[in-house]
């Protein structure tokens, strides 16, 4: 187990190093983005002295080693830096967006996890009848649509043609109505389509996993015994098969939760949802190093953290694995 933890520590160090050096390898610097290139249509006039002052102000003129040291010590104190394009602390900008991402991803997960378990178990149970393959087939058919294209189709047909849903955003900005209930309805109304897109994209993985682990169990004696006792199908599935099929699922769900934010980037962009995904594109275009670094750090820490959690859970739940690690 200590090997696992050492591995994750090493990965975090690699990611921090990447996170620091990658932005500094790119062409151009944030100052030249602010004023425009000398060849641009309307370059802002800036003397070399003003430029140097700005570089000094943001401490971009120091040696790389010193900048890296400062970056790490600031991180340890929980300071993520100052966003150049938003002119606000990175932590504050990210927290404002993170809420929406977590809300969207969390709601989607709350739907696709139970739905996937049910569909996977039912598909396995009916694997010899047409119903099983039909479930698998349709889940994979719907899940193969790239999320940004599916989202686009949703917007065209459900929002623009039928007018059932808003075309984007998370809340209505110009609304006469107010009140807790109304804003709740408003948020759900805006979140429904992006959430549905995420659910469809995430279902196949869970359905396949539950289907396979259930299939592997159906031939076992304890299932036959349960059937022989005269238990109904549903009871055999819920009481006897599913608890045993849960093991790989717990790991998978823990890993999926790590991707809650990273997995919805394209969906958020399609639906102009004010989460972290949309922030990545704006920060990327504005070349806002500290903001990009902050976003990347949060996303990666979430993923790596949940992967570690998945590993720990797996060893805790299945004593057989403990010996092999």
């Amino acid at each position: 187990m200590s090997y696992r933890i050492a591995q994750y520590l090493f990965i975090i160090i690699v990611l921090l190093t990447l996170n620091f050096f990658l932005p500094r390898m790119m062409p151009g610097d944030p100052i030249s983005y602010l004023v425009g290139d000398p060849g641009a249509d309307a370059p802002l006039l800036m003397t070399e002295e003003m430029r140097q002052n700005l570089l000094r102000y943001y401490e971009l003129d120091r040696p790389l080693g010193e900048q890296f040291q400062r970056y790490l010590s600031n991180l340890l104190r929980g300071e993520l830096g100052w966003s150049i394009s938003q002119n606000a602390p990175v932590a504050q900008v990210i927290l404002g967006r993170l809420r929406w991402s977590l809300l969207l991803g969390g709601c989607a997960a709350a739907i696709y996890v139970p739905l996937g378990i049910v569909l996977g178990a039912v598909a396995a149970w009916h694997s010899t009848t047409p119903a099983g393959p039909a479930i698998l087939g349709s889940v994979f058919f719907l899940g193969s649509w790239p999320s940004y294209f599916l989202g686009m189709l949703f917007i065209v047909f459900l929002s623009l043609k039928l007018g059932l849903f808003p075309i984007g955003g998370a809340t209505s900005t110009l609304s006469a109505r107010s009140g807790v209930l109304w804003s709740l309805v408003d948020v759900i109304h805006h979140g429904a389509l992006p959430c549905a897109t995420l659910v469809l994209g995430n279902l196949p993985g869970i359905v396949l996993l539950v289907h396979n682990s259930t299939m592997g169990l159906l031939g076992h004696d304890f299932v036959r015994a349960a059937k022989a006792k005269g238990l109904r199908q549903r009871r055999v599935l819920i009481k006897h098969v599913l608890p045993n099929a849960m093991l790989p699922l717990v790991t998978m769900i823990a890993m999926r939760l790590g991707f809650l934010v990273a997995g919805s980037v394209t969906v958020e962009v399609v639906f102009a949802y004010p989460g972290m995904g949309a922030l990545i594109t704006t920060a990327g275009i504005a070349r806002d190093y500290p903001l990009l670094q902050g976003i990347f750090l949060i996303i990666m820490l979430l993923i790596v953290g949940f992967n570690l959690l998945a590993d720990l859970l797996y060893t805790r739940l299945d004593p057989r694995v403990r010996a092999t690690l």
Partner: protein
């Protein structure tokens, strides 16, 4: 990636596997068609890639799928887009399969070296690749070679793990022992006996990897972080999506729909093919 055998006798008793193979055949046909269209793009395309005419024309006799906002023929872009999207996917998958095969074989045969190689692979596997590629794209604006390099760096560990698992399960079989007893060299055993056994699992990897690369590349272009000079389906879709009047007029039907459908069709076809492969190899990962 865990690889575990799955009972498929139930599927074989019924006619389900014939259904699977029929769907997979359809997938194979779709993929070959796209491959052919991509190869023949210069001959099939109605115009040269960057020929400009009147912008935003609806489909007509001159432009079967109309033109985009700066007057490029959409059908031409679609055909050349197939070229780029499939080429990037094929090249990076080929390279990561070869590298993964090499490392997997070495790791499967030589225990101590294998341990080290596997630890390296584990580190790459634990780094989430889609967020990283977004970050890299945001900073470095990668061109085609950098993009392929990225996909290979994060693709080979998966292949290596799958190949190694296969080699380990074959290594102690009687026929390998027999070959050793007959005095076969290490190289001969690896190349003649162990390598062929890994090809089915490597094919499964390749199909999934092509799928991943196509989705990642088009997703990147869609986010506006791809190289705007690489003509891919994702870029075409992204251009259409970002143009203000696309969805309030009928433009989306001939501009946004075709590239989206092409990507979806390829992904669906690959899923169908992988079903048959998994069904055959009786392996589900």
């Amino acid at each position: 990636m865990n690889v575990r055998p799955v009972t498929i006798s139930a599927a074989h008793r019924t006619g389900i596997h014939t259904g699977v193979s029929r769907v997979s055949l359809a997938g194979l046909i779709v993929m070959s068609t796209f491959g052919l269209l991509a190869l023949l793009a210069p001959f099939l395309a109605p115009t040269a890639p960057n020929t400009l005419s009147a912008p935003l024309q609806p489909p007509g006799s001159a432009h079967r799928l109309g033109t985009d906002d700066i007057g490029r023929d959409v059908l031409t872009q679609l055909l050349y887009g197939a070229r780029t999207s499939l080429f990037i996917a094929a090249l990076s998958t080929l390279l990561s399969s070869l590298l993964g095969l090499l490392v997997g074989l070495i790791a499967g045969v030589f225990d101590r070296l294998g341990f080290v190689l596997l630890r390296v692979a584990d580190i790459f596997l634990a780094i989430p690749r889609f967020p990283l590629i977004i970050l890299m794209a945001a900073f470095l604006r990668p061109g085609l070679p950098t993009l392929v390099l990225f996909f290979v760096i994060f693709g080979w560990p998966r292949a290596a793990r799958m190949v190694r698992a296969q080699v380990l399960s074959e290594r102690h079989r009687a026929y390998i022992g027999a070959a050793k007893a007959l005095g076969a060299s290490h190289t001969r055993i690896i190349v003649r006996h162990l390598l062929p056994g890994t090809l089915p699992i490597l094919t499964v990897f390749a199909v999934m990897e092509v799928q991943h690369v196509i989705l990642a590349e088009s997703g990147l272009s869609f986010l506006g972080l791809g190289d705007p000079t690489i003509r891919s389906w994702g870029l075409l879709l992204s251009n259409a999506f970002r143009f203000p009047t696309t969805f309030i007029t009928d433009q989306w039907v001939w501009w946004a729909l075709p590239p989206g459908l092409c990507i979806t069709l390829v992904i669906l076809a690959l899923t169908a093919i992988s079903f048959a492969l998994l069904d055959n190899a009786a392996f589900v990962s």
